[in-house]
């Protein structure tokens, strides 16, 4: 069976763990073997969080190896850097470019990376980057769509994931999870799905002079 390794990073309170849970539920519905593990340490709201999701393995532990992630979904700009070592050179990144400055940054004591720096770094690390700008998030009713579901929609269109889980199954999982918010979540998911098909760049061949890699397989 094809496999797909996904790393999700962000900050406590952004719904990163919820995304891990939704991917697992969708995998169960699609009858795809799954293992996933949340890492939040002692983080309350505002601390670093990570979820590692592995799909399609007959037997595998839940930790994604370095350089093993087909997909990286980051919900926060600076935290993206923590997910980056996991990326495969032929991997794909969904960056929801939210900025959540820790206190040290607000006080001018610590540095915070720029969007350009993060995107440049991603370009040297993986094959494709989808940038979702929080300011340009589409609206549903009076408010912008839910950020994590929007980002999940963008992830759902990824070729490697679609081989295992059809995006419609993932969409159905989101709808079933919160029946009362079905419409709002559907709007978020679908908007993300459309944006996910518009990567800002493909980076075949990179700064570290690795050989160009193409997605292969069935």
């Amino acid at each position: 069976m094809t496999t797909c390794d996904i790393v999700l990073v962000g900050v406590g309170g952004q719904g990163v763990m919820t995304l891990g849970d939704l991917l697992a539920r969708a995998a169960l519905a699609a009858d795809v073997p799954l293992a996933w593990v949340p890492s939040k340490g002692m983080a309350q709201r505002g601390g670093s969080v990570k979820a590692e999701v592995r799909l399609g393995y007959g037997a595998a532990g839940p930790r994604v190896p370095a350089g093993g992630a087909d997909l990286l979904l980051s919900m926060e700009r600076s935290e993206t850097l923590k997910g980056m070592p996991y990326l495969r050179s032929d991997g794909r990144t969904i960056l929801y470019d939210h900025v959540w400055e820790p206190t040290g940054v607000q006080l001018g004591e610590d540095a915070y990376p720029s969007r350009d720096d993060v995107v440049a770094s991603l370009a040297s690390r993986c094959n494709e980057v989808v940038l979702l700008d929080p300011a340009e998030r589409p609206r549903f009713g009076d408010a912008p769509v839910v950020a994590n579901i929007y980002a999940l929609g963008a992830l759902a269109g990824s070729e490697r994931l679609r081989r295992l889980i059809d995006s419609r199954i993932l969409e159905r999982t989101v709808v079933d999870r919160w029946p009362k918010a079905a419409e709002a979540n559907l709007a978020a998911f679908q908007a993300g799905f459309i944006h996910g098909n518009q990567p800002i760049g493909r980076f075949l061949g990179d700064a570290r002079n690795r050989s160009a890699t193409k997605e292969t397989g069935t």
Partner: protein, 640 residues
């Protein structure tokens, strides 16, 4: 049967229900908490489930239920075994009647603080069998086998998960629960078995405990818990993998396109104790090189050296003792690949990019051997701090102010810390606490500093659950021996850091069948020289209570009482309302610098500070420090 997504913790809980467990006790601790926490979400009328005062109490209760003939389990993190062990070794000597399972979660890689202790050492020390599942599905299965093994051998049995298995989610096929046995309790009076009075009794029990482990060795073999796969050809390499590492071994072999492995024999170890002698000796007789993959201490590897000596094995053993692998951290695919490479396997195939193509796995670049964290250096640091509205913030700021009031600096006043959320005062912006050792240590350690000749005041800090768990003996000692110190008990009514569990001080409303113990009455009963009960949101009173304590001798206790802000907020209870008068804010950021409150930030347009009302609990501490009166606080609309 139903297929569910479960964590290892939940799988242990459901496995125990399937085994007909009657009583489950525990003390919260990451990564084990989710097991008992899950049971408390279920409706289980025939069973007793509780968070106990500490792990020793939890174990003793489970042991009593098991001596009475029922199946019982206690749950804890690895540090908890240290607390429970005093009782545990004694009951290991006596043996059990009903199945008695100690579920412990070890934390290689340290996801949540505390030493990277390998609890298999305790199983070795107490001659108790220990089952080590590799996945949530195995955890469900082995939880049931653990009860059977305990009753077959009459030994208490450890069930040990590691972080990735305990917190990891996977599919598990779950069968229906089994109702606990309807039996009359066993009332057996036998001092030779149930007491430790005299050398004859103790040595006889010691002998019996070793015999029980021998029995377990035969039972484990009969149950087929350790899986030996011998390559049909005379084996080049034998790989021994313990517990969680087995999942990554399967993956590494699949990556190399050699599943089932050719030229490789494997031994999947689920019991370091009892040591799988027969399987190991067979493997040694079949292979020229043996690779041992186990997280933390080389317990199985040492056993292999003994077996190798006894069976005149002349080959090579690769693992930690030859320096190939590390005893530190969690193992993943990288460590397995490193081990296989050290044995000369994988080099010519997968890792150099020449992976063999198979029908099911397209050629893919293999993962790197080492996690290159170069980029992480550029990410903004996020030190853990207390939540918005946390009452501990008031306590830290008051201790800081009291030290200054006493004419001292923070660098000359020892403030001992303790386990739980209360330790977060070690981080910025407080930088207040000097140490963290074990549950309740702060108040005893402080006495040592006094006897060690410290002439400046000594302050100890601990939370309410920590006080009940292990802090009481230390405080009693300080009072008895008239040691001058100030203890601040930070009572927020919950065991918070592990996810809000009920403790003896939690309000009656949240106690299931239990009742609240009045912590103030407990403290008063010990007769400290001074006891102040203060709301930590009241910075002025809090500061003066601590400062007064620092100025006189004797044991002074300050009970800082205010419910955990997270729990209060969940119920809609807020202390007041804080907001920014934008025109008055000069953006000096003093509020943020001093309190570090996550509800405070610079507004998006950069013109002033702003308060995130979805986080703010209206404690008003930040307003205290605003030099221009831009931050205003009112207690109007406060609700409890």
């Amino acid at each position: 049967m139903k297929t569910q997504i479960l964590t290892g913790n939940e799988a242990v809980a459901l496995g125990a229900l399937r085994a007909g467990v009657k009583a489950v006790t525990g003390y919260p601790g990451t990564p084990s908490t989710g097991c008992l926490a899950h049971l408390l979400t279920l409706d289980l009328p025939d069973r007793h489930i509780e968070w106990s005062t500490n792990e020793k109490v939890a174990f003793e209760i489970a042991a009593g239920a098991a001596w009475a003939g029922h199946r019982a389990m206690c749950t804890m993190k690895m540090s908890g075994v240290n607390v429970a062990y005093d009782a545990l070794i004694s009951i290991a000597y006596s043996g059990t009647n009903g199945g008695l399972v100690i579920y412990v979660a070890d934390d290689p890689g340290v996801s949540a603080g505390m030493p990277e202790q390998d609890t298999r050492g305790f199983a070795l020390m107490s001659h108790l069998p220990m089952l080590e599942p590799a996945s949530p599905a195995e955890a469900y299965e082995l939880a049931q086998r653990a009860f059977e093994l305990s009753e077959t051998t009459r030994a208490p049995v450890f069930l040990r998960l590691t972080t990735a298995v305990a917190l990891g989610h996977a599919r598990v096929d779950v069968d229906a629960e089994v109702t606990p046995r309807d039996i009359a309790p066993i009332l057996e009076k036998d001092i030779h078995r149930y007491t430790k009075a005299g050398s004859a009794i103790c040595m006889e029990q010691h002998r019996a405990s070793i015999e029980r482990l021998d029995h377990a060795s035969r039972a484990v073999r009969a149950m087929g818990l350790n899986h030996l796969h011998l390559d049909p050809e005379d084996g080049m390499l034998g790989v021994v993998a313990v517990g969680a590492v087995n999942a990554y071994l399967s993956e590494a072999l699949a990556l190399a396109g050699t599943e089932p492995p050719s030229g490789i024999s494997t031994l999947h170890v689920a019991t370091t104790v009892p040591f799988p002698w027969d399987e190991v000796c067979t493997l040694l007789g079949h292979c020229r090189t043996i690779l041992v993959l186990e997280e933390l201490e080389p317990h199985v590897e040492r056993g292999l050296y003994v077996a190798a000596q006894q069976s005149s094995f002349k080959g090579r053993i690769v693992g930690k003792l030859d320096g190939t692998l590390s005893p530190i951290g969690e193992y993943g695919l990288q460590e397995v690949v490193k081990g296989l490479e050290a044995c000369g396997f994988l080099q010519a195939t997968a890792h150099d990019g020449g992976a063999q193509e198979t029908a099911t796995s397209p050629t893919r670049e293999q993962p790197a051997a080492v996690l290159d964290r170069g980029d992480e250096l550029c990410s903004a640091p996020r030190p853990i701090t207390v939540c918005a509205g946390c009452p501990h913030r008031g306590t830290y700021l008051a201790i800081d102010a009291a030290i200054k009031t006493a004419g001292l600096s923070k660098d000359e006043v020892m403030v001992t810390g303790d386990i739980g959320c209360t330790i977060l005062g070690m981080n910025p912006p407080f930088n207040l606490l000097w140490n963290e050792v074990s549950m309740g240590t702060s108040v005893s350690l402080a006495q040592g500093y006094v006897h060690g000749g410290l002439t400046t005041p000594v302050i100890a800090t601990m939370g309410d659950s920590t006080f009940f768990h292990g802090g009481i003996p230390g405080l009693v000692n300080a009072i008895q021996h008239r040691v001058s110190l100030t203890l601040v008990v930070m009572d927020n009514g919950w065991t918070s850091m592990t996810g809000m569990q009920v403790n003896p001080g939690t309000d009656d409303v949240f106690q299931r069948d239990g009742r609240r113990i009045d912590i103030e009455a407990v403290l008063r009963g010990f007769g400290p020289d001074r006891l102040d009960v203060v709301d930590p949101y009241d910075l002025e009173r809090m500061t003066s209570a601590i400062a007064d304590g620092l100025s006189v001798s004797g044991v002074k206790v300050v009970l800082a009482q205010r419910e955990c802000a997270i729990q209060a907020k969940r119920r809609g209870a807020v202390a007041g309302h804080t907001e920014v008068q934008v025109d008055k804010c000069v953006l000096c950021k003093r509020c943020l610098k001093i309190t570090g409150c996550p509800a405070l930030s610079v507004s998006p347009d950069g013109s002033s500070m702003t308060v995130d009302q979805s986080l703010c609990n209206g404690c008003g501490l930040c307003a205290t420090f605003c030099p221009t009166g831009a931050l205003t606080h009112s207690t109007e609309g406060a609700a409890t």
